[in-house]
Symmetry: C2
Subunit: 235 residues, 2 copies
């Protein structure tokens, strides 16, 4: 009987993990497609990203419902409960990352008619690719319960922050040189900030995985590299 309950619980848990992986796959695709639609000026792809966000939102609600049912039916404790609570947090982060991708796609539709620099578009795409690869690894770390992969993701967020810092300076320069670029650069800059935030959320997910595996939250030793809040002059 006890074994029967255990395996029913395992099946439930597997169902939850499947949902999270499905959600993660959609979010990864959204990140890549949003950046691609910007670089290739593909307004239809941008529309698709926006439309598909509904599926991501629906999956989050499903994860919440299934998790609540599993807790109510199986009354899991300690480690098992921690896995389910982690799943809830991962789903919430994925939903937010999906929102940022949708927001980028929205701005792509606006930017299509504005003069803008192709070089920033490809920088933004590079940044997006890095975040997508971090996200892929963090989901992998979760499935394998591998704190090392998660720690690696956490460190890689610094690269994303550095790319963002460089872009922030680049946009300021463009705007100062040519005021007609101001509106376009503001949008591009928001996109860069959105990608940087996706990186932060992915880092939070990595920390959740580390907590799940080791039982300890990683220390705040990770140097925060978005230094633009302090930027008062352009050197």
């Amino acid at each position: 009987m006890n074994e029967h309950i255990l395996s029913a619980y395992d099946r439930d848990l597997e169902g939850l993990v499947t949902l999270i992986m499905k959600m993660g796959g959609l979010v990864e695709q959204a990140i890549l497609d949003a950046a691609k639609s910007l670089e290739t000026q593909d307004i239809e792809l941008a529309e698709t990203v926006r439309r598909r966000d509904k599926a991501i939102d629906a999956l989050e609600l499903e994860v919440n419902d299934v998790a609540a049912t599993v807790i109510a039916l199986r009354a899991p404790v300690s480690k098992d409960l921690r896995i389910i609570l982690t799943v809830l947090r991962l789903a919430a982060s994925l939903e937010r990352i999906g929102d940022y991708a949708k927001n980028i796609a929205k701005r792509t539709s606006t930017l299509i008619d504005m003069p803008n620099s192709a070089s920033s578009n490809s920088s933004l795409r590079r940044m997006s690719r890095e975040v997508q690869s971090m996200l892929k690894d963090v989901l992998d770390a979760f499935v394998r319960r591998d704190a090392e992969i998660a720690e690696d993701v956490r460190q890689r967020d610094q690269e994303v922050d550095q790319m963002y810092n460089a872009l922030f300076r680049e946009f300021l320069t463009f705007m100062m040189e040519d005021p007609r670029q101001i509106t376009g650069c503001m949008h591009l800059h928001f996109m860069a900030k959105n990608i940087e935030r996706m990186g932060d959320l992915t880092t939070n997910m990595a920390e959740q995985v580390i907590y799940l595996v080791t039982g300890e939250m990683p220390e705040e030793d990770r140097p925060k590299s978005d230094s633009t809040s302090y930027l008062s002059t352009l050197e």
Copy 2:
């Protein structure tokens, strides 16, 4: 015996609600102080906001721990479980709102040495006050299980979005008129966006409360009024 268990559960739940209210109070204070430090150019107050964010983060971890313990010990189902899961989501939103307030305070420290428009600072403060008042009401709605108050908060977010739209246009105008204002305006603009996001998070909290009370997620009928992603020209 059953009564004894029930009242122990009620005590646990009360403890959780007390933690959330304490967290909410600190976050409300952070929102107000961040905006005040900007308007009054009070760098010490800005530092205080940044320092106090640690207490908010610590409270979120405490909420998570207590909630996990209550679930594990009491194995709550249906409504009781839904309350605890709602508490977890409210705490996560509060933590994020606190982060935005910290970020605003960080930029205040930077802006102190830059030429900037006093009129935008007071607009930002007005926007912050509105968000703080929404947050106060949403916590009230949670404690009273009052879906009407929560629905009202949800509607008020439109005003915050409209204030943001007006500021976005104002900053673009300032930057075009005087390129020396660009860096300062970028920071002010980020602050405005952070306040707008705090409003969105407060709205999410209101939706969680509505879901808790009515069992249904409100429809997406709320018109999204941040239209700046579509803004391609300045009329």
